[in-house]
């Protein structure tokens, strides 16, 4: 059957053992894309979905209309949080490898997304994250120890042991509960934004999905509702080239940029260098301003690369070249911002090293603290009776009697 098949099967440019090839990425030079006014008509800014908004140039300078002109302090804030995200991920990965938590997912190589976008939004704006937005939780005030306690499902776990590690949430920080189901948060963000508009508030919503997730129904639902009601929302597609073993072409990412997905609905799209901290910030702020002033939704594609395995359950050497990340033309967001800061005279290798050390210490301290609230092998333990709470606002009779039954069985009655 194979021989006669005329089906066209998309194929990544390189598989294990082959030479990485990113020639398919359409790159624009830093500073080359214009920055339209936020009230521009969708039709007039279609080109933003095709180019690549970049600020940081090869020579580490910041260029062009999208340059947010950050001062040293703002740059350091960004660098610090991105680094913290990286250091935290490295540590948690190790911890999972030691069998001390059941599961973990890193955002390695994608830290600019959560941090720069976190900075571009206001505290009252609501975030509907994917599982790779841990940086958002950190930036929005969730303590490292609380994130670790969630991963440990221990007595201080914000989820009371009910969720897989990394499925954080923060009510006060306005970051929604991470779902294991891909893409379901997208229409939530749109509904939240619609409610904000109905209430006459100027808070906006933002949500994130991966390249692979764009194929899910909720992607379409969200875009449709956002377009129809001009909801004040930023819909982000984090195109890290891979969806577990499936490359972005299997979500039709090779024919046309994900940023163009909303054009047919009248939703403007911006394709951004997702590893360019300044460009991500600037494009997000533009979209946020636009939404806040009644301009409706924007779709932002953040072109980046998933530097690590999909999760601790994954082995990418089975499906992509081991060194693919090294060849990724947009590099590493942390390294790029660091070099820019050095070039600008705001930073040095030495300060960088000492910041890394400081953050490692912070993470280590948090881990020590977290374990006091219980680990997988040692107490204190969450009370299993709590597993019957919060199914409903009030436990109905069947849950109450099951709770009693469970306790009897546990006590060996």
């Amino acid at each position: 059957m194979n021989s006669k098949s005329r089906l066209q099967i998309p194929r990544p440019t390189a598989r294990p053992g082959e030479k990485p090839d990113f020639s398919y990425l359409d790159l624009s030079p830093a500073g080359s894309i214009d920055k339209p006014p936020i009230d521009a008509r969708t039709r007039d800014i279609e080109h933003l979905s095709g180019g690549l908004v970049r600020v940081l140039d090869e020579d580490h300078s910041a260029k062009g209309a999208w340059n947010p002109n950050f001062d040293a302090n703002q740059l350091q804030v960004g660098l610090r949080w991105m680094l913290l995200n990286r250091v935290f991920d490295e540590r948690m990965w190790q911890i999972q490898r030691q069998g001390r938590i059941s599961f973990y997912m890193q955002a390695t190589g994608e830290e600019a997304v959560s941090i720069a976008q976190g900075m571009a939004l206001r505290p009252g704006d609501m975030c509907f994250p994917s599982y790779r937005n841990q940086g958002l939780f950190m930036y929005r005030g969730v303590k490292l120890v609380d994130m670790m306690c969630q991963c440990l499902s221990n007595t201080r776990d914000m989820c009371q042991g009910r969720q897989l590690p990394i499925m954080y949430h923060t009510k006060t920080g306005n970051v929604f509960s991470v779902s294991g189901n891909l893409g379901t948060q997208y229409p939530h963000a749109v509904g939240w934004a619609m409610a904000s508009a109905i209430k006459g508030e100027d808070h906006i919503a933002a949500s994130w999905v991966g390249d692979g997730t764009t194929a899910e129904a909720d992607f379409h639902h969200a875009l449709t509702f956002a377009a129809v009601y001009q909801a004040p929302v930023i819909l982000n597609v984090v195109n890290n080239q891979w969806a577990i073993s499936t490359f972005q072409g299997t979500a039709a990412g090779q024919r046309r940029a994900f940023a163009a997905r909303g054009l047919g609905l009248g939703i403007p799209g911006i394709r951004v260098d997702g590893n360019d901290f300044l460009a991500v910030y600037s494009a997000s702020l533009w979209a946020a301003d636009r939404a806040r002033r009644g301009g409706g939704p924007t779709l932002i594609e953040l072109v980046t690369y998933r530097g690590g395995p999909h999760s601790t359950s994954d082995d990418p050497s089975k499906y992509r070249p081991k060194d693919e990340w090294l060849s990724f033309p947009l590099g590493d967001p942390i390294e790029r911002l660091k070099q820019h800061m050095i070039a600008e005279g705001h930073w040095s290798d030495a300060r960088h090293e000492s910041l890394v050390d400081e953050l490692r210490t912070e993470v280590t301290a948090a881990w020590k603290e977290a374990q006091k609230h219980g680990t997988m092998t040692e107490g204190p333990w969450l009370d299993p009776a709590t597993m019957f709470d919060d199914v409903f606002a009030e436990a109905p009779r069947n849950l109450d009697s099951q709770r009693r039954r469970m306790l009897e069985v546990e006590r060996g009655e």
Binding site: Q160, H188, G191, D218, H221, A393, N398
Partner: protein
């Protein structure tokens, strides 16, 4: 007190709640300007404006997904799904998100969405306008499942559902929107006007979620049912002359086991009836629960009267529908067993 049919009662519940609570919003296909294909939201947009009674794109998944987000942002959305047969595109959002949000966030987030949807057959709607999928939803923990059998309950339960901080899927048996139906399609249609439960207060009241009701008191056999079949059961009690106690479940989940079990303990016999297909239908849970609770009082096996395990055929609506004949046969079957 006012006379209302079920449509009017449902509309009135919306009206009362939208008036009391400015966070109540309504969304769905054709619900706004047009007032809904069954007219349940008629007049609401004129009264409360198009920002609170929202015509939605044809996207059940999007409607429920967006409603969840609205609920998280402090609104109290009432979403209409035009027919229960079309609720499945929204199933993932209901099961994976709406039902679990409070649990997975330890109560920090929740979304008090009410999903209303007309169900059931008997209106010549064929297999895609006749389904009764309530059983599926009762297996999904974290949502409440409700089906009223009359205007009074419909309004009171719907107000309770809208007020509930838990998500509710609210099934409306469309066959009895305009009048009770005793299962005999040959008889002339009757209206709610003459039915005691067609008397509906104009203002606010609730029928609490989670409570069954004895729709007809009796001593010889308990019929546990809900929705349209409550009326069929009562008619069959009269027709067979068996002194049946008819229990209207009203809230399918969480279930009011005590009311059901007390009745069966008294009568010693139990018939369970619903319009949905029989296999793995909600009646299975009722039978499983009752045999457990009432084992020592049961004088006969619990029997089920239900839709056949086929799609709802357009031409054979009345052979499919568990009407008077089948209900009566079920009553006799249980009475004859020893």
């Amino acid at each position: 007190m006012a006379q209302m049919n079920m449509i009017e009662a449902i509309r009135s519940a919306h009206d009362v709640m939208m008036d009391r609570d400015s966070s109540v919003v309504v969304l769905g296909e054709d619900v706004g300007y047009f007032g809904g294909v069954f007219r349940c939201t008629d007049g609401l947009q004129r009264k409360y404006g198009e920002h609170r009674v929202i015509d939605a794109p044809i996207s059940e998944g999007g409607i429920i997904g967006a409603a969840i987000g609205m609920g998280v942002n402090g609104l109290r959305p009432v979403a209409e799904i035009q027919f229960a047969d079309y609720i499945y595109p929204g199933f993932d959002q209901i099961v994976s998100e709406l039902a679990r949000l409070r649990y997975r966030s330890s109560g920090d987030f929740f979304s008090p969405v009410t999903i209303r949807t007309p169900c059931g057959g008997g209106i010549r709607g064929g297999q895609t306008h006749s389904q009764s999928p309530e059983g599926i939803f009762t297996h999904v923990t974290g949502i409440k499942t409700v089906m009223p059998s009359n205007p009074y309950d419909a309004k009171g339960l719907l107000i309770a559902a809208i007020e509930s901080d838990d998500p509710v899927v609210f099934f409306e048996p469309k066959r009895i929107y305009n009048g009770p139906f005793d299962g005999d399609p040959e008889k002339p249609a009757v209206s709610w006007g003459s039915h005691p439960k067609g008397e509906v207060p104009e203002g606010y009241y609730t029928v609490p979620l989670g409570q069954a009701e004895i729709a007809r008191a009796g001593e010889e056999l308990t019929i546990i049912t809900y929705g349209t079949l409550v009326h069929v059961a009562i008619a069959a009690a009269e027709a067979t002359g068996v002194d049946c106690e008819v229990v209207d479940v009203r809230t399918l989940s969480p279930l009011d086991v005590a009311t059901l079990a007390d009745s069966v303990k008294k009568t010693g016999r139990c018939l369970i009836a619903h319009e949905a297909t029989r296999f793995s239908g909600y009646g299975a849970e009722l039978a499983a629960t009752i045999q457990k609770e009432c084992f020592y009082q049961l004088e006969a096996p619990i029997s089920r009267v239900a839709g056949w395990d086929t799609p709802y055929p357009h031409a054979f609506e009345w052979q499919y529908f568990p009407g008077l004949k089948r209900m009566s046969a079920g009553i006799r079957r249980v009475m004859e067993a020893e």
